[in-house]
Subunit: 218 residues, 4 copies
Amino acid sequence: MDTATEPQRRATRPRADALRNRERIVAAAREMFVEYGADVPLDEVARRAGVGNATVYRHFADRGELVRQVVRTVMERVTALAEQGIATADADEGAAYGALRTFVHAAAEERIGAMCPILSPEFDPFHPELLDAREQLERSIEDLMERARAAGQLRTDIAVGDLMVALSQLTRPLPGTACPSMDRFIHRHLQLFLDGLMAPARSDLPGEAATLQDLRQD
Amino acid sequence: MDTATEPQRRATRPRADALRNRERIVAAAREMFVEYGADVPLDEVARRAGVGNATVYRHFADRGELVRQVVRTVMERVTALAEQGIATADADEGAAYGALRTFVHAAAEERIGAMCPILSPEFDPFHPELLDAREQLERSIEDLMERARAAGQLRTDIAVGDLMVALSQLTRPLPGTACPSMDRFIHRHLQLFLDGLMAPARSDLPGEAATLQDLRQD
Amino acid sequence: MDTATEPQRRATRPRADALRNRERIVAAAREMFVEYGADVPLDEVARRAGVGNATVYRHFADRGELVRQVVRTVMERVTALAEQGIATADADEGAAYGALRTFVHAAAEERIGAMCPILSPEFDPFHPELLDAREQLERSIEDLMERARAAGQLRTDIAVGDLMVALSQLTRPLPGTACPSMDRFIHRHLQLFLDGLMAPARSDLPGEAATLQDLRQD
Amino acid sequence: MDTATEPQRRATRPRADALRNRERIVAAAREMFVEYGADVPLDEVARRAGVGNATVYRHFADRGELVRQVVRTVMERVTALAEQGIATADADEGAAYGALRTFVHAAAEERIGAMCPILSPEFDPFHPELLDAREQLERSIEDLMERARAAGQLRTDIAVGDLMVALSQLTRPLPGTACPSMDRFIHRHLQLFLDGLMAPARSDLPGEAATLQDLRQD
DNA sequence: AATGAATGAGGGTTCATTCAT
DNA sequence: AATGAATGAACCCTCATTCAT
């Protein structure tokens, strides 16, 4: 067998095809969460990924682990988008709010809808596997908001949690299935919300500015 | 009792206990839609309502019929709130936008999240049972918005659908889970969104102002 | 109350409307057994009979009792047909076999298909309620066969059980529903079977001539 | 093993245990249709087959598919019996009717009662899966009857449908119940019916000679 | 490592039967 | 006596997960 020809790598190397399978499964799940909601049968995900159903369980102990993996992937992509925005803002302070707007709309497009499972009751958003990704996401968005705040373009009574949760909510996939007309609304709503975020504030806000961390406090 | 005064109605009068059950089922379903999303097992609804499972089917031929009943109930309650707002605005033109704000926050409290099933693919928003309720709801909100628009307080590039969908989305229960911290955000988000709705508009909106009808046109 | 005016009858008299209901229920059940098989929901029987479902239970302790009542009714009707055949045969010995033929086809028409429940596993064909009806039925058919046998027209190695069971089987309603094309076959089959019953016998029969009573022996 | 000699087939070969299960399920269903009629709970079939309930659905998408498989199996067995009869008749023309008799009794033993579901309203006898089996069955019986007809031993006013339906009816399991005494009658009835089929005809038949196809024409 | 097959628990719905008016 | 309503058990089917190849 050809494993015998390369014995030195055998123990540590995840086999190339296994890696490929893992990624294919995550990608398939991400697409299907967006398309069909968080309830897709895992057998369907396996089929779309082109692997057997049991292979999913070899890579992910249970449904929750796959879901978390998908969420982590999306978080990383969105973090990347936020960092692009920071770069833009750093290049031109006057562009800070524009960079925030651009980021918000891009994040909405970035399959953020695949994060829909986080809304399900079984999902534990504080799972250790997600810690790093969430912190990085939060930090990058916070940084981006700080740029706009420093430029006097963002109201000062809000924090990253306000933006993140609203962004999640406004882009949510309408549980159960794809309501394609929804897409027409999403960017309008985001735009309206962003208008509301601008300085000067047009109203007093109830409650306190909140970070994502705060979500876990109650 | 008035049965004595109108004995001719005796045959068709629904029994008191049956009516009570029916209402208990609708109330239980409303709460559970808010808490757990549109997919709650009907057996759980029955348990929460304190009736046997088959009783649910005696009153509602299938899941869809129950869902429509819940939606109709919520629509009617929200319509009532909008009409209160109209009265307020009519009494004092300067209070028009304040009345809109009050309405939005009150609607959020009014379990509007129980309307979440309307977003599921199986839901038929054009079902005859809902026609009246939806038209009245839309008309009353439109009227309320018109008051604020006439007072020059509401931007002119939005329509009732924009408000309704965003309201639904922003108040959605993080379906399934008990995330009580959510409530802290909801009114902040609504307030921010309302700030974005104020005239003068702070940005151009993509797409077109939309009515509720438009939601299903695509 | 008028029960007070006729106290002597009070205890024994079934109310006229109750009697009417009882008969309507049996009639409805008979028709529906023929049309839809032995599995019709009792609620449907009640509806067809024009009474409430619970009324069925007031008259018949459970489904089995209703079924037995229907079967008894049909047995009585068929008995009457057999007795007509006997009269014909007695009037003209040469007509004995013709009378048997006529009886068999008439019995098939006489909703004997409503006896289909006797074939269900739950049915107890030896229930006391049916004893009399079955004995009279058996006796009358036996008598009719005896006329044909005496006239030398019927083979001698068969008994009433052979005819009754075959008659039931050949006229059975095709469980589950109405297979209307079936009717085209029934009288052909009966005719062929009757041809096989004629003397002289064309073959040896396995087993023993059997009465209905024998059915219970095993 | 031959997998080594034909490795290219490896991917599609059904697993041995799966095949065994599939056959066990069909066999269990066949027996239970005979014993309890076409309405047996599939869970019971699964139990009798010694598999989990879901395994039934893995092999057969729904109840209909299992039923068709059972029917097909029985048709094939009966076809084989008819072909044996043809061979006998071809070897000795005088044995043609005897071969038909032998076939009929053998078919009765061959659990032909398991075909009872074909009489239910939900059953689609024209389903593609059954086409071949039904044509072969009909053709083989027709051929066998033709031998007897050619030998002048079978009346000429009947067709294959007459025989098939009567055979089905007379051998039907008293669905649902364990009425073992029934077996005593079946072969007597078949014998009597076969006597009625012999030439010369002893009576005129109503209706028309019918093929199996005719069963569903109305 | 990967797979197809098997499994049991659970959800929706129907129906015989019981209860309250 | 009659009824409409209520009930729970049962059935069909699906799906997450485990097993055997």
